[in-house]
């Protein structure tokens, strides 16, 4: 019992540490990366003594600043809901990391062995919670995040906030469907809803979701970015038109929205990596060592697991980078165009994807 508790705690620490740590880094990256894309320097001023780290201390400074800022609640706001909304935005996105596998099953006793028999040593899956319907859990919990935005906008007693909240509700509901349908293709291919099994099924590059489901990948990425309310789908914020649902928030509460946004980026990265990019699988890295172009390098179990964990983190990081790059390149869509894209383009395309996938699978079954 104690061991299970210990393992769970350790995994929670690793996964959430990674997610929260990366999202903190992302706040810095968002600025520095955009600066580099825009021929600027970006913020480099925060420092402790002479320690500047190219501005890496800025997230720290931001957090401190936001913590000590005045906590302002508009006089005519619905106070209870106003206070609740940021939590509603933050907590679901923290929950979903529970089912993301960040590494292969680990057999701690056999970490020196090359290619141990995992079935024999009762491996510990590097995943906080092993749930058979993991993906459904993800969608179920993630969709709760919409309430945060809607309630924040509504309870602020601000017209701009209200518009932002309404937009958020419509947008997140619409794209939820596409997002779900886009995954269905992958589920059909791999035949499981459990993320760990999904990843294990993508053992070779050929098995990766992006190869098997290229359309599904694009659709999912698109819908996922829309779910996270990032450019070009940042309509609920639309800072140059309606500022956004969190217009009245400040201090710690604003920080929660802020953190939730970056956690969502990490989350989307994790999800895309898991479903379409082979999760912790790295091309050529097998259970017993590195097999590349006919060469074989034996590696012990511990090393392999570590390499795979790092692979997963690297993939997530690169996906985050891609999301930031998109955000700093594209203009914002208009609300009706967004709806049209969602319902008239992405939804039919994802249905089409499901039908075609199912057809191909049926044909393949029939042929076998």
């Amino acid at each position: 019992m104690l061991a299970i508790l210990g393992w769970s705690l350790l995994k929670i620490v690793v996964m959430l540490g990674f997610a929260v740590g990366l999202s903190a880094v992302l706040t810095w990256m968002e600025r520095r990366q955009s600066a580099m894309m825009q021929d600027r320097i970006g913020p480099v001023r925060a420092n402790i003594g002479k320690l500047r780290l190219k501005g890496l201390l800025h997230p720290l400074a931001d957090a401190l600043k936001l913590l000590f800022k005045e906590d302002f609640i508009p006089p005519r706001a619905r106070k209870g809901i106003f206070v609740l909304a940021p939590l509603l935005a933050l907590i679901p996105v923290l929950l979903v990391f529970a089912v993301i596998p960040f590494g292969p099953p680990l057999c701690l006793d056999a970490w020196r062995t090359v290619g141990p028999d995992l079935a024999a040593c009762r491996p510990e899956p590097l995943q906080i919670a092993h749930i058979d319907i993991g993906l459904l859990f993800i969608f179920a919990v993630a969709s709760l995040g919409a309430y945060g935005a809607v309630l924040a906008g509504w309870s602020s007693f601000n017209n701009f906030g209200l518009l932002g909240g309404l937009r958020a509700a419509a947008q997140m509901l619409s794209y939820e469907i596409t997002m779900g349908l886009a995954v269905v293709g992958a589920l059909l291919v791999y035949g499981t809803l459990e993320p760990m099994e999904l990843v294990q099924a993508q053992a070779t590059l050929w098995d990766w979701g992006i190869v098997r489901q290229p359309l599904g990948f694009v659709l999912f990425l698109c819908a996922a970015i829309a779910e996270t309310k990032r450019a070009p789908f940042d309509i609920p914020e639309g800072e140059s038109e309606i500022v956004g649902y969190f217009v009245e928030y400040s201090g710690t509460r604003f920080m929660m929205f802020y953190l939730a946004e970056f956690l969502e980026i990490v989350f989307v990265g994790c999800l895309v990596a898991t479903i379409f990019l082979g999760g912790w699988q790295a091309p050529g890295l097998a259970d017993d060592g590195l097999r590349l172009f006919g060469h074989y390098l034996p590696l012990s179990h511990g090393v392999v697991v570590l390499a795979r964990v790092l692979t997963f983190f690297l993939k997530v990081f690169l996906l985050c980078f891609l999301q930031l790059a998109i955000r700093w390149t594209l203009p914002r869509m208009r609300f009706d165009q967004l709806m049209r894209l969602g319902w008239k383009t992405l939804l039919p395309a994802s249905l089409f994807n499901v039908v075609v996938t199912a057809g191909v699978l049926l044909a393949a079954q029939a042929a076998r």
């Binding site: 580099m36 600027r40 390149t329």
Partner: protein, 228 residues
């Protein structure tokens, strides 16, 4: 000749993706060039760099170089300074031309009378000469209006940030702290001023109305009828 610029959408435009990929290509190129390659960043770190000596004007790299310091052009209108005479006294004669033309009314002068003028035609001098650099709009008209070459804006300096507004009001001593000796000699002394001017004008860093401007009598076109 009109040129119609309207564009029509193509199938590729309708697909979203080509545009997105093309855009990402451009922005990511900038990213990688700036992060790993030769930088195209021209940001100037205001306040972190000191004013360098003015560059030789023919060196274009010095003017807009890739170094951290931005070099100001020769005509840059910076904080004011007052000039001195050969004998070290202030050139200004408190004629109020600058205060008169100043659109911001930021110059305040109080005139005084010298008991024993050290040279000719300087019996009047400014007891107080204050310029409020925060009110100043840096238009340079005061320099243009000064008939004594007493006031200049060629210090190549911005006024540094100040803690209190009163610190931005430069008094006579502060304005004189960067004083130079003008080559201009007023008072109509000597018959050879034209020749002397031609010889020394190269050193005179007069920004406005350079003294060598062309004379073209043919352009005198307008004659107003004099009135009483």
């Amino acid at each position: 000749m009109a040129k119609i610029v309207t564009i029509k959408r193509t199938f590729w435009d309708q697909l979203y993706l080509p545009g997105v990929v093309r855009g990402l290509g451009i922005t990511l190129r900038h990213f990688f060039v700036n992060t790993f390659g030769s930088k195209e960043i021209e940001t100037l770190r205001y306040g972190e760099w000191d004013r360098p000596d003015p560059p030789p004007s023919s060196d274009p790299d010095a003017w807009r170089g890739k170094q951290k310091q931005r070099l100001r052009p020769e005509r840059f209108r910076g904080r004011h300074r007052l000039m001195k005479r050969d004998d070290g006294s202030v050139r200004c004669t408190a004629c109020m031309m600058c205060a008169t033309i100043c659109p911001a009314n930021c110059i305040h002068i109080e005139a005084g009378e010298r008991e024993s003028p050290t040279s000719r035609s300087v019996e009047k001098f400014p007891l107080r000469f204050e310029i409020d650099e925060l009110v100043c709009v840096v238009c340079g008209l005061c320099v243009e209006a000064c008939p004594c070459d007493a006031l200049r804006m060629d210090t190549q300096e911005h006024l540094p940030p100040v803690e209190h507004r009163r610190d931005a009001v430069l008094d006579r001593e502060q304005l004189l702290s960067r004083a130079g000796v003008s080559i201009a000699r007023d008072g109509g002394d000597g018959e050879d001023w034209r020749e002397r001017y031609d010889a020394t004008i190269g050193e005179a860093r007069q920004i406005y109305r350079p003294d060598k401007q062309g004379h073209d009598d043919a352009t005198i076109g307008y004659r107003r009828k004099p009135s009483s």
